[in-house]
């Protein structure tokens, strides 16, 4: 199963992730 998030955000939004990174509920995805 997979979850796809699609969202509008200010252009200075930055993901705080790496490809193939393991992640858990509530952990930061990104911020402005």
């Amino acid at each position: 199963s997979t979850i796809v998030l699609v969202f509008e955000a200010p252009s200075d939004f930055r993901f705080d992730l790496k490809p193939d990174q393991k992640i858990k509920v509530g952990e930061r995805l990104g911020d402005i």
């Binding site: 796809v4 998030l5 699609v6 509008e8 252009s11 490809p19 995805l29």
Partner: protein, 478 residues
Amino acid sequence: LSKSWTGTQIKWYPIPILLGAVVLVGVQARRNYVAERDGKGVGTKIVDENGQVVRMQGPWTVYVIGALPLNAISRAWGWANNLTLPVWFRPFGFKLYAYIFGCNLDEMKDPDLTHYKSLGEFFYRELKEGARKIDDSILVSPADGKVLHFGEIAGRRVEQVKGITYSLDALLGVTSAPEATESVVGKSEEETQHARIDDRQFASVNGIDYTLDELLGDEKSKSAMPDPDEVKKRKSKWTRFVKASYWKSWVKRAPSDPANATGVAPSTKPTDFDSAADADADDGEEGSADATTKKQPKQIDDAGMPEPDTPEVLGRYANVAYEMGVGALPPLLQPHSPGQKGLKEGNKLFFCVIYLAPGDYHRFHSPTNWVAERRRHFRGELYSVSPYMANRLSNLFVLNERVALLGRWRHGFFGMVPVGATNVGSIRINFDKALRTNVRMQRYLAGTYSEASYSGASKLLGGQPLGAGDEMGGFLLG
């Protein structure tokens, strides 16, 4: 030659089942390949932003996998995994599963493995309080898993993997409500505000102030809507068949029923069967209701939602309301001005894909403070969504069955799309009991979707308010 022809004894041998299955799958894979090549494949009813039919593309291995009856396999898998297991076997079986798939049993809410009746129940286990901390950033992970891909959306195309993209329109089912938009445009500001207040329910349902078309600046993919006549015909035929079968079985039981013997009509009290059949019919007719009543989505009255706008609800979602700007200004004027098109100035569209492995906790939570205004249930295939398939099968997330939850957050549009797979075909949304996924007959409706509105959950916020970290639903086995 004549002697050999007439005199040779013929001896028949059965073809091994496995060999037969391989040949059948091979033939079906070849047929699928030809159908896709000719534009008559599984994505026939799905069109991209250019009006082109979505195609399944990849190496021969994905055609072989696609030739399998994955939806039926998924339901059989779900049935098998919901069988009650003997109590003595549960700890051993679940520990073996946890060892193979790397589950962390220490964070389970109920650590006693004998309490989980089946593998399906264990798979949908809850975490104990405080097992996950919610970060205070504006966007957090909705689930445990692996980040497959993330980035910006450019030109209405989402990157599945490097070099393979799929259509955003097809993923979200971008449709329009032109009659609603017209009712607002062209009026004075005062009239517009009045109209918007009067039409709040309607506006929220049809998204006058915030449709995806306005967001993305175009009106496409109308054909992604199910053909209402076709849906109604198929569903009503199926419902009639099931009900007829039920009454036949009732009549067979009737001789021993004294009420029937005396000519008294059978009770009209609704049964579980009727409820199930009606729910099934309702679910299938959502699309037809949408299309025949000016595409107005069906309201969910009994969807397990909280009482709208009670002080408790508003208090609970005060942070959501605050971020949406509700309270500072009349809610109808937030967050967009009438007639706004496209993204807000200075904004971009982003995406992030998270893959949940079989051993992961399979409930999902709200990734931010937002309001879910509607859901679109896309019926489709149930291909595996593992990284192996995601790297090979193009349009994977568009072809698979999924539930798109669409709404808004403080920065504008927000959408969350749980996508089903072969082993986890059922998607559950806690506040939407009307939703039925991975049901029979859906293969005929693949590529279509039905829509429902959550506007009844909170008239003030215009949808279902969700705080960051709130549990929203989950994936079930099969």
